[in-house]
């Protein structure tokens, strides 16, 4: 069964006219927890079966707040509560290995993949966008790796993919200062291929997907394989470093601070 259409609690997809659209719709800003992960795994299984009928995949959010604010830190904190640190780290490792499998499946898909972004694109959301071949962002999209403030590194494959795609200055700025920047800056540094007006990214991505449909798939696939190698060894290393850092008391303190924060700016690094 190809399952060309699915409507889940956190995401939905549909294959139509050779284009698969994966829509994220979990309030408040598509935080990635265990339910989203399960549905993403369901999607990648379906993707394998659908891709012979498609030439493009578009990822987008139906929420005005943004594309995705990253991992569900509240779920992560609650899950680790009362657990011995090594046991909590084992749970985190299992989650990371599963999400990496999802990310690698999209990254290596023979389809041309497009992230159509709006608003908050932070942490794991940024990492999800980085697996795509093309990023189309509306001018209000904002990018950030705020993990530093929790005493962590990005864990969904962000560092190896940032290094693959961008120059050292911007990679270090993002990862060592935890700052955020908007779509225009992201385009200037080579992350985003098109910046469009507010609320226009999905329309622009659909236009791009229609154009892609005119070309020979075998050529597009060979090109993608040549220009977008997947840094598997570094991705594995990222999981190891993340899990080592996760066992430190500073991380629990950072997560607690975030979860219990009444600060008006918990998302500001």
């Amino acid at each position: 069964m190809k399952m060309n259409q699915f409507k889940g609690q956190t995401l939905s997809w549909e294959l139509k006219d050779g284009v698969i659209e994966l829509a994220l719709h979990r309030d408040p800003c598509n935080e990635i927890g265990s339910l989203t992960l399960e549905e993403l795994e369901k999607f990648t299984s379906a993707l394998e079966r659908m891709q012979s009928d498609a030439h493009a995949l578009i990822l987008y959010s139906t929420l005005k707040s943004g594309f995705c604010a990253g991992a569900d830190l509240r779920e992560l904190y609650r899950g680790a509560q009362g657990m011995e640190r090594q046991a909590a780290a084992r749970g985190v490792r299992e989650f990371l290995e599963r999400i990496h499998k999802v990310m690698n499946a999209i990254d290596s898909s023979p389809l041309t993949t497009i992230a159509a972004l709006n608003g908050i694109t932070f942490g794991g959301g940024f990492e999800l966008a980085l697996v795509c071949d093309l990023i189309v962002a509306d001018k209000m999209a904002r990018f950030c790796f705020p993990e530093l403030r929790l005493g962590l590194i990005p864990g969904f494959g962000g560092i190896p993919r940032l290094k693959r795609d961008l120059g050292n200055a911007v990679v270090r700025d993002l990862l060592l200062t935890g700052r955020s920047f908007h779509a225009t800056k992201a385009q200037q540094v080579g992350l985003v291929s098109q910046v469009v007006g507010e609320g226009e990214s999905l329309r622009a991505a659909r236009g791009t997907a229609a154009q892609l449909g005119k070309f020979d798939r075998a050529t597009a696939m060979a090109t993608k394989k040549f220009i977008k190698p997947i840094p598997y060894e570094e991705l594995k290393q990222e999981i190891v470093i993340f899990c080592e850092l996760f066992t430190r008391p500073a991380v629990e303190t950072g997560l607690k601070k975030f979860v219990e924060s009444k600060d008006a700016q918990p998302y500001l690094p």
Binding site: G66, G119, I120, K139, G178, A264, Q265
Partner: protein, 80 residues
């Protein structure tokens, strides 16, 4: 109007329009989180709009702890 006052005025106009608050209700020393009733995600939205409007780059850490329009204007002015 001096450059600083002009910057402050433009910020107040932009905030009033974006968050649908009457302009006359906003004053330079207002805590914008309280006056505009915005959360952190909306604060980032405002930051992005200000960066586009003034064509400046404002690293988040420069705004750490800034919650009134006057200080915000001075940080932007310093980058113009």
């Amino acid at each position: 109007m001096t450059d600083s006052k002009k910057t402050l005025d433009e910020i107040l106009n932009l905030a009033a329009a974006q968050f649908k608050v009457p302009r006359e209700k906003l004053t330079p020393d207002d805590d914008f989180f309280k006056t505009l009733g915005i959360d952190s995600l909306q604060a980032l939205d405002l930051l992005t709009r200000l960066e586009h409007h003034f064509n400046v780059e404002l690293p988040d850490y420069e705004l750490q702890g800034v919650s009134d329009f006057r200080t915000l204007a001075s940080r932007i002015q310093a980058r113009l």
